[in-house]
Symmetry: C2
Subunit: 205 residues, 2 copies
Amino acid sequence: MRKGEETRAKILDAAEAAVLAKGFGATSIDELIVETGITKSGFFYHFRDKNELAKALLERYIDNDERIYDEIFGRARELADDPLQSFLIGLKLLSELLGDLPNGHPGCLVATMCSHERAFDREIKEMNRQAALMWRRRFGQMFREIMQVYRPREALDADQLADMVSTVLEGGIVLSKAMQEPKILPDQLLVLRSFLRLLFQPAQA
Amino acid sequence: MRKGEETRAKILDAAEAAVLAKGFGATSIDELIVETGITKSGFFYHFRDKNELAKALLERYIDNDERIYDEIFGRARELADDPLQSFLIGLKLLSELLGDLPNGHPGCLVATMCSHERAFDREIKEMNRQAALMWRRRFGQMFREIMQVYRPREALDADQLADMVSTVLEGGIVLSKAMQEPKILPDQLLVLRSFLRLLFQPAQA
DNA sequence: TGCGCTCCTGTACCGCCAGTACAGTTTTCA
DNA sequence: TGAAAACTGTACTGGCGGTACAGGAGCGCA
């Protein structure tokens, strides 16, 4: 029971790195078994086919993602009572965390899998959708709390703003990779932070 | 000479649709030649290998992208003298254009190719970088013109704001696909538009 | 001690795919 | 009409995803 999970985790580790670097289609099972030190039969003992590998990969990635957000925005909530201040602190913490990654953000599995929709089955598409909806719920709830205290200076609703957080994260990852400048992602998060501060700033000169 | 370019374009059309739907690695040459109605030898007459196909694909995509932006922000400039108003109109036009696409944005080739960096050679990575830098130059120039007239209410420089436009576009594409809601992309562009209006709004209550 | 379960290994095989090689053929245009 | 452009046809290599199945090592437990 224990040994099996360990091997499974090793396969997933190797697969995640390879998929983010080269794409799912370009990642071969053969290279994974070489890196993990098992045989092909061993691989298929853990995963029925490549699609099941993708599913396990995505599931683990999303869980980990949620854990990180829980941690960061949990800490931010401890640091300030005001919901706006707390959210702005959370964005700052997230920006710092992403800026401290030595080689930049490794890439978002949700993004790489949903942009190649036809390559995966409905179950994976649904997992991607649920992940994005969870982001919306998480950030949307925070914006609703903020809006109970502050009135936004433009007519934007909480879900739109929540999606903007996800948008900037995903877009920042893409742009950082395209430009080959890891700093863009944390930087853009701070730009979003400025926008939000402006949006909820009391209307006075 | 003419016939050759026609066939080449047909291959690129089929390839672009397939790559955006399934990813580059999952797109086989065999399926492209079936769809195009040529033989494998015919394919390799036009492209030395799959990597050269990727290069041609990306080059054509970027050129087309630039053409669309030229057109939209050119029209926006005709509709208003003020650089801020003109830019806000441009964002609105772009949002409407993207919202009118029947199946949503088909996906950004720059994003799919740069997120799988290891699968492509240096030349393609450099093309991606240049494309992103062209976006920065284009939008950055517009923000510089705006800043000669309006003073931003937060300390953000023109290049940061330019990158935010690209970020929202790329992120919006990802989120639209993940959520399976094409409206998110045009919607998020309008959220950005609100932020920018707020940023450059004269400081009065 | 040995039974059974988990966790693999070994071997052999299929069909698809990228890519090579190259000779031959049709089409196009000057 | 002739040369160049734009292909076709055939035959091959090696890698990959996936299947099938027999067997074995280690481990916990009665």
